[in-house]
Symmetry: C2
Subunit: 274 residues, 2 copies
Amino acid sequence: MHTDGLSINLATVREQWNLREAVEACLRHSITAVAPWRDQVASIGLAEAARIIRSNGLRVTGYCRGGMFPAADAGGRQAAIDDNKRAIDEAAALGADCLVLVVGGLPPGSRDIEAARRTVAEGLAAILPHARACAMPLALEPLHPMYAADRACVNTLAQALDLCDQLGDDVGVTIDVYHVWWEPGLAREIARAGRNDRILAHHICDWLVPTRDLLLDRGMMGDGVIDLPGIRRMIETAGFEGPQEVEIFSAQNWWKRPGDEVLRTCIERFNSVC
Amino acid sequence: MHTDGLSINLATVREQWNLREAVEACLRHSITAVAPWRDQVASIGLAEAARIIRSNGLRVTGYCRGGMFPAADAGGRQAAIDDNKRAIDEAAALGADCLVLVVGGLPPGSRDIEAARRTVAEGLAAILPHARACAMPLALEPLHPMYAADRACVNTLAQALDLCDQLGDDVGVTIDVYHVWWEPGLAREIARAGRNDRILAHHICDWLVPTRDLLLDRGMMGDGVIDLPGIRRMIETAGFEGPQEVEIFSAQNWWKRPGDEVLRTCIERFNSVC
């Protein structure tokens, strides 16, 4: 079984290992691409995280995550912009392919999702010059509509690409099958993303039936209903050649298993069903 | 507090009352529009349900529900079509404004959502002549994408309206704020629905943050983040003059409270926040 084209988003094993342990485990399993989260980097320090990644020749398929632009007031919105600039710096220090952005939902007390969307567009425009100066592509991740209120008010690939068109170059999308598998016109939108060189990352996992928790019940590839090979073909046909990155939040199942079992299973499923 | 323009979907009090009891309770609270479910009608019998509704002069803002077209084989698909024709007959016997359709998700073992969508279109085309013969409008209800796998593969108002355009006259949509509040371009799509006289029903409830269950944790109006007056204005501006129909599935909260308290709260919130 091969591991070429496989990346592990380190959230998948966040309950088992810190960044150093997770990297060592990935290397044991011949996995040479990872995607760390900011808290995982912070807990061992940015310099040490960068050293571990470079000394092991790892590819960083994305740095998770910036975004979260909407806030209750102007001070909060500026703080989000400043924090995103720091995230860009960290992503650059790690040599990441892109900074993944989960844009944020409704600010506290608000019911105006269109206002939140305008705040997101403004926040992105505000950080884009810094991203360009750091040569760090911004990868907007449209999130499933069930997160529209509390995590991301950008909820379809079509909407994310409209936003990219508004912003110009150096911004693209993270296509996570969990969020977009249901989207009407998905094939068309993936092709559109490819034509404009907007595909920056490809996340995989599966949608379980039933899904028992809105956030922490993602499935291992093959255990759900997503047509993973079908979407993979669309993404490859659109010109994206990067790894498929496994990102599974699973409080009751995969986070409770030994990390090596999780990685073994990721590799098996990557070879058999993706 | 008034109850003009308020309808109660009887799922909202399904754990408290049968159809007869629910109707009596609605009348006690001066509510003269309801929307019953097929199982509620079946449990007292169609003739008796129709008698109760007519003798009390109730408006039936929708009959819930037909749909569920995808199936594992041709026999299953034909059975669904036949069952939908019976649902049309029942809706006509009850004098309903429309038959609400939840179209169905992936058939067992399938990961092909586009095939499911084609089955839905075929099923609708197959029942439409019977609906026309019975003068019973079909009200497609786009369901939130979190139900794409197991309940409905029609997940946006835009997609539902495309399907309506394909089918022609006598088919329209149920706009349930719970399912579409997050939809990018919602105002545009509601206006489009109005232009083509496609709005057949308007369901209300609220999206709670956090939402603890994908199916049975809908909120009372005002307890969540949906801009109910904003969407109501869009729908009224688009020309729909029917009642707002309260439909709340709430296993841990509203289904556990006395039915009269639920109805009182519906009326209060209808007057204060909708």
